[in-house]
Symmetry: C5
């Protein structure tokens, strides 16, 4: 059985925390009382209790038991069922993970379930305890706050990716680096993973913000328009990051080719200058009885000078061809 937190706020703003089941049932059916019930790591008995109290459909409850459920929005008779995947990123780690938040939104209640502790639940719980009247604006307002928090968690990650992109570019253009490729590759995987989780979120928020969904009051819809806007900015950024990663990879490949060119030129210069000289030494190293210059006084110096001249001519040639 999981950790349960239950808030009931009467029309006059009085907050009752964790009421007994009969009181809860009365509150659920009263049009002036509002309920928010949160279950962390719920178990079988919790699902049975929810089914008993609210009459949730077994398919929705089955989805809640599966931590892999995709972001989605489904209408049932009397409530909507919403699954959002939240970013669960620990500052030190590389991997981006997402955890689900399951919500049932009725006219007077909001039920949230999540297998793992979520910062947004804690934050909104705090805020509600300080100001119970918040819930009298309707449970959809609480849902907005929760999702607003979830979406905000994307931004530090985006900043981290932005910074890493800058580092990628530095690596690519400044130095011969073996780190560039894995870094680009890893960042790309992360952007892909974020896109996979941000995409459905944007679609769902588009529906919440623009289409009339039951149990979401028109006033709250304006607030969701705001969150939708954030998700559009996230999607925009991710798209730009992807484009820039592709460009960076292309630039990297091009730099690798350029460096190969440099290395080859170096080799060609060395070989092209020294092979002729070595050939000349070989020429005068042959064992003929009669050879020109070999017996002449200073013959060695004549030949050495000739070799220096050849080397200088070749060096000048490469210089002119701008290879150096």
């Amino acid at each position: 059985m999981g950790a349960i937190q239950c808030y009931v706020v009467r029309g006059n703003g009085a907050l009752v925390a964790d009421p007994p089941d009969e009181a809860l049932r009365a509150a659920i059916s009263s049009p002036t009382d509002f309920v928010w019930m949160d279950l962390e790591a719920p178990g079988e008995t919790d699902y049975a209790r929810l089914k008993h109290l609210y009459g949730f459909h077994e398919l929705a409850l089955e989805d809640c038991a599966n931590p892999e459920t995709r972001t989605k929005l489904e209408s049932y008779d009397g409530y909507v069922f919403l699954v959002c995947r939240a970013i669960n990123h620990n500052p030190g780690e590389e991997a981006v993970d997402t955890v689900p938040l399951f919500s049932f939104l009725g006219e007077t209640y909001l039920v949230t379930l999540h297998p793992d502790p979520l910062r947004s639940i804690a934050a909104v719980g705090d805020r509600l305890r300080k100001n119970p009247r918040l819930l009298t604006e309707g449970p959809d307002r609480i849902l907005h706050l929760l999702i607003d928090h979830l979406v905000d968690y994307y931004f530090p990650l985006l900043d981290a990716i932005d910074e890493r992109l800058d580092r990628c570019e530095d690596e690519v253009f400044r130095e011969v680096s073996r780190q560039a490729l894995p870094l680009i590759f890893r960042t790309k995987r992360e952007v892909l993973a974020l896109r996979r989780s941000a995409g459905p979120l944007r679609e769902i928020l588009g529906v919440l913000a623009n289409r009339g969904i039951p149990h979401i009051r028109p006033g709250t819809q304006l607030y969701f328009r705001d969150v939708h806007d954030h998700t559009l900015r996230i999607a925009d950024n991710l798209e730009t990051y992807r484009d820039m990663l592709t460009s960076t990879l292309e630039a990297h490949l091009s730099q690798v080719s350029n460096r190969l060119n440099e290395v080859m030129k170096q080799l060609t210069i060395v070989a092209t200058i020294l092979l002729p000289l070595t050939f000349i030494t070989g020429l005068f190293g042959m064992n003929f009885e009669e050879m020109p210059l070999t017996r002449a006084a200073g013959g060695f110096w004549v030949v050495a000078g000739g070799m220096a001249a050849v080397a200088a001519a070749l060096a000048w040639y490469f210089k002119r061809k701008d290879w150096w």
Copy 2:
């Protein structure tokens, strides 16, 4: 003639297996009796019998005779005709194959045909024999169970691909490997094949889940929404795999280029250090009568020392350029 299994469940839950044709005909036209008839590897006489019993359109029956028929959903007068391609993957093998399942769904009957034995048919048959009341929920519920099974067979394959992707990346980044390219290539083909069969399945299930289709009860539609969800997750994963395979291939190509760079540097270093030394030996190997140092005591050691100094200078130079 193929293997036929026929279940008739009366409104009171009584199960009649493989009834004679007259009884079957009575059950088909009775609004309180439900029929599920399954034909494995049906032949000409089976098609004639189906046409006679249910009045299926000849075009639909022709599709059933063609094992290449695409996944599709067609409405006829009094029934819908559904073709799903199921994954038929044997654990040991590489190739991904799909086999069709043909279904005719009427108000009180479900007729399924398939050229090959299917695990999902066996599993649902077992379940129905244990609990005949299942069929009284309507034949569309049986259809849902069959398709649910079919879709679930994708997941072990996805896991296998996931694992292989990890291996691809390891191959690419860890070692100079000739296996990387064929492995990436093979996985890509598999992902393409899966996408080709999963794509139409997702579309059909979207229709079954979201649009009102005749003979599918609203309650069952909720269940199809669930299966639709699974197909969306499958499509999501395949898309990500494809993106990651592309990245992996790019990384592979980049690594190949990097290694070429390494090899070339090696060659350049060797050539650049040894060619000057060889030139010097050639210089003192020339047969001039007068040569500097050659007759001096210790001349050899002077020159050898000079060569060692040149080699050291070049090594230091490469070290500084960070080539080593």
Copy 3:
């Protein structure tokens, strides 16, 4: 003037071949007589006659005179005008060519025109002569048979491409082949050409199968659904071929790079082992009066042994680096 074949079938199933113009005009305006008129390589007088008999619009007839007309479907007053491009592939040849089939479908007549002889016309003509009642199902049924044939001609071509793709892959992975690139390139062009002709066909058939078109009876529409299905499979296959050709080209490029790596390694190994040895021989080939070992007994063998040791050490080093 082109070759004309004209079939008139009365309501009682009697077939009249090539009737005189007055009888034809009577049949066209009679609601119980059905007409199929086929013109091969029609000339100016034929167009004038068609205009006179059926009142076709001059724009449609101008299209018929242009062998480049695109696949399209146009509604005119009293008839629809359909252009389909058929595959005209001779088994031995490489090039894929398409020829047009122009059809005018009215309530009681079908007029087909084509600049070149078409196998599908011959086949359907045979079938009609054997069973004249076929035409009493309506001229739209004849149109379906013609198009069904046209679409079926794609499949042998697809099989040929499939086979060639397998050969491409074999070429790419098995051997250093100069044929791979032109083969991939040629296959790609063919797939592009097929896609260009199959795409519009699929769209037109989607319209014929799913939307209500005048002069197409609902019963015939079911048959067109079938042909539409074939075109979807063709489009599917072409898409997959294109993806696989792209992958094959990438694999080819990667293999070319890999081979370059191999060649460079070979060169580097040879140079790296032999250059030091050659340096050593140069060392002892210098003409110093005092040199170590040169006058010692067995000095040669000592040095030769040393060189063998250096070569072995380098070979072992490359072995360990897994370059061999």
Copy 4:
């Protein structure tokens, strides 16, 4: 002030060329008189006159003064304003340029403006002077003729591109060519430029052909369907050219890699055969007092034979590896 040509055709087919303003104003407002007025390189006074005569909106007239205006179709009160960009390609030149044709189409008049002389205006003017009744079919028919001409000017350009594509392929596959890359690149730019001008034209013609536009008679709409068809074929061709250019570029890059492979193999063969031989000559060139073979009779020939054997063995090895 620009060159103005003005045709007024009365209902009885009488042609009045360049009438005075009062007569023109009467013709414009008479429902049985038709007007076509063409202005080449119009100036400020022309715009004022047009505004005065027809009451055109100042925004439309501003567009006419800007030679960069995009292809577009705008409805105003009493007339539609159409901008088409025409190909202005001089046979000898490389660059593809487009010039605008501005048209105002009312119920009884067509006003065309263009900064540069256009062949289509001259051609249609000729035709109208020969057959003035043409204008009594309505000014939309004149507009159709003008646009039909404009669109036809694309085809010689497409043929030129087609031919150049063939040349690109020849360059790529036949020879080591430095022209291939700039040629591909230039052709690609041209295709891009054509696509940019042909795309909006296709869209506009789709609107003219399929949607009901005021002042275009249904009969003329059929004619626009024909021109629309041409633009679809142009777009089709450009798309195919783009695909083929991409393939050609890939093939070019692959050929460049292949040639590098060839060059490297050549180098490796030369180095691998000659370096061992040179090592052997170095071996017997060392100055040891005791050396094997050097004093033996025919020792030289033994060693020379050994070297020939080594060279032959290496050559055979490369032959077997299919490098030659």
Copy 5:
């Protein structure tokens, strides 16, 4: 508190600048008075005043406080809220930055806010002071002028990119250049950034121009159609630039490969000519007692001639293979 400029124009064209709050309130609610209020770098007190005067929604005001808000158009009760991002490019700088312009458009008022000074605000303010009747055409006309200015600021940037693209191409085709890659890369980033800001602008202007938006008079809508046209041309150009940058990058990579080919050929030629010659010198440098030619008169010259012949033959061979 920011810099505020407030213009009130009565129906008779009288301009009142910066009226006191009571007069402003009266003008806002009078249907014949028009108000334009502009706030630069507004602070908290400004937002409170706006809320008090016009009753703007707090969500919209929160957006105004966030300089990162995306381009968007939102309808509220009694006014529309529009966010446009303006180009803020300083001629000398490389980076393209965008700053927001927030506008509230009611029936009789326009309120604009912007964190940074904007040239378009200054320009339109000047124009209004000169001709106060402009405002009596409605506040939507002022909005049009502001956005028209904003959009026009894109064009000098596009021209700059166009020019840089030409330079990129010159760099790529003319010379071995290290600047090409960073230049292409930088230009690509700029095009991406412009596309990101121009895309939403085009969408918003499409809505303003084509759909009926409250508080925008039909006459003004025609003007917005004009601005929409400009944004379409901007988007067109950016798309073409992107395509051309991709082509240029491909051309660059191809040129890099070509140059590597050149370098390798050079090396191969040098090595292939000199290695055989060096081998020959080694041959005659061996210390055999009996060697051919070495004691013959002129033997040296025979061998030297032979070497020259070998070199000439190889040079001729390379010439024929078109390597030089």
